[in-house]
Chain length 304, copies 2
Amino acid sequence: MSFELTILGSGAAIPTSRRNPTAQYVICNDRHILIDCGEGTQMQMRRFGVRFQRISHILISHLHGDHFFGLVGLLSTMHLMGRDKGITIYGPPQLEQIVRLQLEVGGAKPDFELNFISTSSKEPEIIFSDKMIEISSFPLKHRIPTTGFIIREQQKERNLNSDALKGSGLGIEHFPKLKRGMDVVLENGEIRKALDFTFDPKPSLAYAFCSDTAYMPSLPELVKDSDVLYHEATFTEKDRYRAKATFHSTAKQAAMIAREANVKKLLLGHLSARYSDVEDHLKEAREVFPFTDVVEDGLHIQIA
Amino acid sequence: MSFELTILGSGAAIPTSRRNPTAQYVICNDRHILIDCGEGTQMQMRRFGVRFQRISHILISHLHGDHFFGLVGLLSTMHLMGRDKGITIYGPPQLEQIVRLQLEVGGAKPDFELNFISTSSKEPEIIFSDKMIEISSFPLKHRIPTTGFIIREQQKERNLNSDALKGSGLGIEHFPKLKRGMDVVLENGEIRKALDFTFDPKPSLAYAFCSDTAYMPSLPELVKDSDVLYHEATFTEKDRYRAKATFHSTAKQAAMIAREANVKKLLLGHLSARYSDVEDHLKEAREVFPFTDVVEDGLHIQIA
């Protein structure tokens, strides 16, 4: 089992030669998830060795072009490469019409099932859950309806204590119950408490993605205790009025969210093309929250 | 005055690390024209030093994604970079709805005038004409409605023969008429024939662009005597059945069109990702039409 993140695009609205528009690839416990899909994402996936066809979930935060103009091209390529496994896309309600219209006029109806699930920009929701992961969305504060996402490992099973199990009368048939923390009653009526024969499971980790948003004081509550928080930092404090006017954040504001939310690590991205380096972003964020990095295209991060 | 072509994308439906999807940039007598706009075209323009804001005409051959998925991203970036000069887009009728829908949901109504002119997939038409250039479209034979385009210099003015003009009684006030080939009547009633005082103008050149098409025996008539002909060559003869089935051409078929149309130079592009080099394309085409090259991303060609 692993939990890892690859940055496919770390730039803002205007792509530069160094930063493609937003896209991230997450593998969480064998679930392959694409978050946002700016223009050129399929080329970035090829460049960074991401295998398209493994992706089963695509999360689109909002309908500004730098977050979704690469989606229909990626789906077309998946189709041309012979995909037959279905895919589910989570995003604002109009996304389905936009994608289907373009596939239809091009006569490129995919051979795989294409499901759309609308996200809500009003309240947090769990949008996907299986035995390994849970994905939820929550509203952000931007010029058009926008959500962030949290990808979370499901609670893990307890680990067996093999020393304690010796001579306990417990056998392999009891292990599934013990791993789930349930006590076992033996045939002779004796009770074996799960806590005596197991260790606590490894913690379940969470990655929170906050795409375009103005500074949002209620946000820490929504992403509380995430292990890694990605938060946009289109601007620095020097341009804070521009940030406010365009419903974006500064690096310092992102750091304030991270500190308040008690996360372990903060990643900054979506840097405006006006900044030629990341020094000012890093400096002002680390003064508030030291465990901060600025991402770049191709960066690979091991969350677990 | 110049007439030049830059290849921004030379690949087919599936982009590869070497070939982006179709896009070409033409400068003809100070008119700046983009032909097709596959995903990532704006990044290619940046890479090859093309200045976005100079473009005034965009020609879209058809609505397969590899020919237009980069259009709305390019328009968004033009808007974000403060464009105020209008732009005209020529393409299939549904293109307008696709572009406007996406700009609208993103709340990114551009500050510049965006004009759409529908091309006809039934018959050739002149779609633009001013004193310097003429652009026409003509039907191709593909799975969905598709057109090619010809960009042609307008007939140039005759050149003055300064030796002959000496002592002829002709002055600067007569030059505009002479340059247009019109005879002049002097005040004393004498006639001065334009042919005696001017040289023939330089020839007016033409560039013909044939995007996706099956082999089309009627095509040479439509692109006759072009100086440079671009013709797709998705396949080689080895895969001619696949070419036929998908309404594409082989390199040999493109060369047959070029020979029959009596063009000066043939450029091949839109190569399928299955070919790792261009040798077979070149070999089979040059056997039929020797003045053939295969284009690649970034190639710059001086037409005049």
